[in-house]
């Protein structure tokens, strides 16, 4: 045990002290926050003001084209495609006198996607308003107020048995489930392959034989898996602290008006700016709905599934690492059977967040190959109701049992593979190493 501890310490410290680790730990959340802040900032400030001269042959557009943050419509006289530039307009919009819908926009430079689609939106609205007025004599204000009233509906889901009714927020549960499942998916990949590369390094450096003359191969493998797992945990905790810290600082700097402005601006736009919209409106929702999620259970389960999901797969990655030689292509082909269940799990997870109580989601969240990812998608919908306690316990127990099994199996492959040079073994040969005694 003492030796395993020494190995864990070395594996952990040698990685944590690396410059790349320190940089990626600090820069990733910074980049994340900067990206969101940047998009928010751009959507507020960096809007090109386009002044558009309209030649309205149809005659009903004046007063019907609404100015936006980016676009100003004017209806000057004596303007044509030759002189709009000189008179200070960036474009001239030609509206035909018939219903051909043949609208033409002349400009010096090409209009961006967002600006162009906004012009289309405004034209559509104007045409619609005109038709409504023509045929039903309804003006646009009436339509807007009707729309506003009709758009307010929101379904609140009260669930649970009759004695205790809880108010659910399935959108939030969806977001948390999706995020948590995806996070586990990514970590399995990053840290799983880190274990594999670590084992390959020891093998190709030929230090494996020196090591196993001092420690048992099992101790070497376990030390590496736990050491790298601790690196992953450290990085996670650092990220969470930094993201909370930086975004608190950022939101203190940005006034609430700016955030409101940003979401207004982005709601007007679509396309690329949609992301900012989601980010900023998510930010508002965040503080509102935080209290509705059972964070204690979610974080607890996340840590459990992160740790044991990692342990379950890391052992398999270690076995693959021990079997391959210098050639990274060998690693790729041997990795496939391990990667497949992870990819299937992410696909099951995407289904599970939309229907968390379906029998497919239930079964997938119990099978250890998928449970770390799929169960995390279900848990935010509520433990005790959407996910009955027996399912959670069964899932956890089978994951722990699965981890013990993969570790035992991998250890046997590992102790043979790590001292074996030459051609790449087949899965059949590796299976033989695993079932052979001693």
């Amino acid at each position: 045990m003492n030796k395993t501890w020494l190995i864990i310490k070395r594996e952990y410290l040698s990685r944590v002290k690396k410059k790349t680790f320190i940089l990626s730990t600090i820069l990733t959340p910074l980049l994340f926050v900067v990206l969101i802040a940047g998009i928010t900032y751009i959507s507020v400030e960096e809007v090109d003001q386009e002044k558009i001269a309209v030649i309205d042959k149809a005659g009903f557009f004046q007063g019907n084209l609404e100015n936006t943050k980016a676009l100003t419509f004017e209806f000057p006289s004596g303007i044509d495609t030759a002189n709009y530039d000189d008179k200070g307009y960036s474009a001239v919009l030609f509206i035909p006198n018939d219903s051909s819908a043949n609208y033409q926009l002349y400009s010096k430079k090409q209009f961006g996607l967002i600006a162009a689609s906004q012009i289309e939106d405004q034209i559509n609205k104007a045409v619609e308003n005109n038709l409504l007025k023509d045929r039903f004599n309804i003006d646009s204000k009436t339509i807007d107020s009707i729309r506003n009233q009709a758009g307010e509906a929101e379904v609140q889901n009260f669930y649970g048995d009759r004695t205790e009714v809880k108010e659910g927020n399935s959108k939030l549960a969806y977001a948390i489930g999706y995020g948590a499942g995806f996070l586990i998916y990514i970590t399995l990949f990053i840290y799983g392959t880190m274990v594999m590369r670590g084992v390959m390094e020891e093998k190709t450096n030929r230090i494996a034989e020196v090591m196993v003359s001092s420690v048992k191969p099992f101790q070497l493998m376990l030390g590496k898996i736990i050491g790298i797992g601790a690196v992953g945990l450290t990085q996670f905790i650092m990220w969470i602290i930094l993201i909370i810290g930086i975004s608190t600082a950022a939101s203190a700097l940005l006034s609430p008006e700016t955030i409101q402005q940003a979401s207004d601006a982005s709601q007007q736009m679509n396309g690329q700016a949609g992301m900012a919209s989601r980010a900023t409106s998510g930010f508002e929702d965040f503080s509102e709905t935080m209290g509705q999620a059972n964070w204690f259970v979610i974080v607890g389960c996340f840590l459990f599934y992160f740790v044991f999901g990692y342990l379950f797969y890391a052992a398999l990655f270690a076995a693959v690492g021990s079997a391959v030689n210098e050639d990274p292509q060998d690693a790729q082909s041997l990795m496939l059977p391990i990667i497949m269940p992870i990819i299937i799990a992410i696909m099951l997870m995407m289904k599970a967040v939309t229907s968390p109580a379906s029998s497919m989601a239930t079964w997938a969240s119990i099978i250890p190959f998928f449970s770390p990812i799929v169960m995390m998608a279900r848990i935010p919908f509520g433990v005790g109701d959407t996910v009955p306690y027996w399912q959670l316990l069964l899932s956890m127990a089978s994951l722990v049992a699965g981890f013990l099994f993969t570790t035992w199996l991998s250890a046997k492959i590992y102790r043979t593979g790590i001292l074996m040079y030459g051609k790449k073994p087949s899965w059949k040969e590796m299976w033989k190493w695993a079932v052979r005694k001693a």
Binding site: K3, L6, I7, R10, S14, E202, N205, R206, I207, A208, E209, V210, M211, V212, S213, S214, V215, K216, T416, L419, M420, Y421, G422, K423, P425, E429, K432, W433, A438
Partner: protein, 325 residues
């Protein structure tokens, strides 16, 4: 008095390592096939064999990395217990390996700690060895900055650092220049004199002849020679003699019932004596011929010749290391 002496001599002769009928079979071949030998404490023991003879497999069983299929390894008279006894063994495998990115001092401390030394003990011993082998300035360098010979030296230090009773060196001189090879050789002698037992595995015969007290030759997984260097040479001598004369000799006039002339120079002969005659009879023959003998030497075969003679004709060279399956 007499009995005390006997007990002492038995204790002294108690082998540090004893192999009994060790067998290890892989799917396609017998890597080690019924090998037994024992090693007396404080000796330098040579384990010889061509490439692929099973040396590495044998050493891995001695160091507890592999389990034998059958047979047993006794360490200090007791059944080898990998958990406890690895602390007493220092193993330098043929394939050297160190963590390339790790600092040399840290690396040596780490490997020593894995052998059960405390950190302060480890640092103290590393400083001693680094001073001895003039490596003091290396502490903060990384292994990737070292030349092949330098990392070889480092590997040797990490092998012997924890003062193991049994030191196993697989091809310790490969990649070393003559100066450093001599340095390491002197250290090996000194360690043996201080009571460590050394197993020295190689296919370089001239080194064995010079260093080893006792050798075992294995080929195709089987032991084919076992004994002291001198005994083995004596038992493989071919009755060859080199004789120098004052005057010129004409080999065609010499008696062939006594010996056969293998090689003749102007006043020098190499003969192979027929086994039924002894040396004096040969010498007397030449004296009776009135020839003045200046030198009369028996030619003992070199280990290299014995090795080649033993291994030749087997398919040793054709057998490469096969994977376990």
């Amino acid at each position: 008095m007499n009995s005390t002496f006997e007990i002492q001599s038995i204790l002294a002769m108690h082998p540090i390592l004893e192999l009994r009928n060790l067998k290890k079979h892989y799917a396609t071949q017998k890597a080690v096939d019924d090998v037994s030998f024992s090693i007396t404490p404080g000796s330098i023991f040579g384990l010889l064999g061509p490439n692929g003879a099973g040396k590495t497999t044998l050493l891995r069983m001695i160091t507890g990395i592999f389990y034998p299929d059958s047979g047993e390894v006794l360490f200090n008279g007791k059944k080898f217990d990998a958990l406890k006894d690895v602390q007493q063994i220092g193993y330098m495998p043929e394939e050297r390996g160190l963590y390339k990115k790790m600092r040399i001092g840290e690396q040596a401390v780490y490997l020593a700690q894995l052998k059960g030394l405390s950190k302060s003990e480890a640092i103290e011993k590393i400083k001693y060895w680094f001073t001895r082998l003039e490596m003091q300035s290396w502490w903060n360098k990384k292994v990737e900055d070292l030349s092949k010979g330098m990392s070889q030296k480092l590997q040797f230090v990490t092998t012997v650092l924890h003062e193991p009773k049994l030191i196993i060196l697989d091809e310790p001189f490969s990649g070393l220049d003559p100066l450093n090879a001599n340095l390491i050789k002197d250290e090996i002698y000194r360690l043996a004199k201080d009571g460590s037992t050394i197993i020295f595995s190689t296919h370089r015969m001239e080194q064995v002849e010079e260093i080893c007290d006792h050798i075992v030759l294995i080929n195709l997984g089987k032991k084919i020679l076992d004994g002291t260097v001198n005994d083995i040479k004596q038992s493989h001598k071919q009755n060859l003699f080199s004789i120098k004369f004052e005057n010129e000799v004409l080999p065609e006039h010499l008696a062939t019932y006594l010996f056969e002339v293998k090689n003749a120079g102007k006043n020098e002969l190499t003969i192979q004596k027929h086994a039924e005659y002894n040396n004096n009879e040969i010498l007397q023959y030449f004296l009776s011929k009135g020839l003045q003998v200046n030198a009369f030497n028996e030619i003992l075969p070199s280990l290299n010749e014995i090795f080649i003679r033993q291994v030749e004709g087997t398919n040793a060279t054709a057998r490469a290391f096969q994977p376990v399956s």
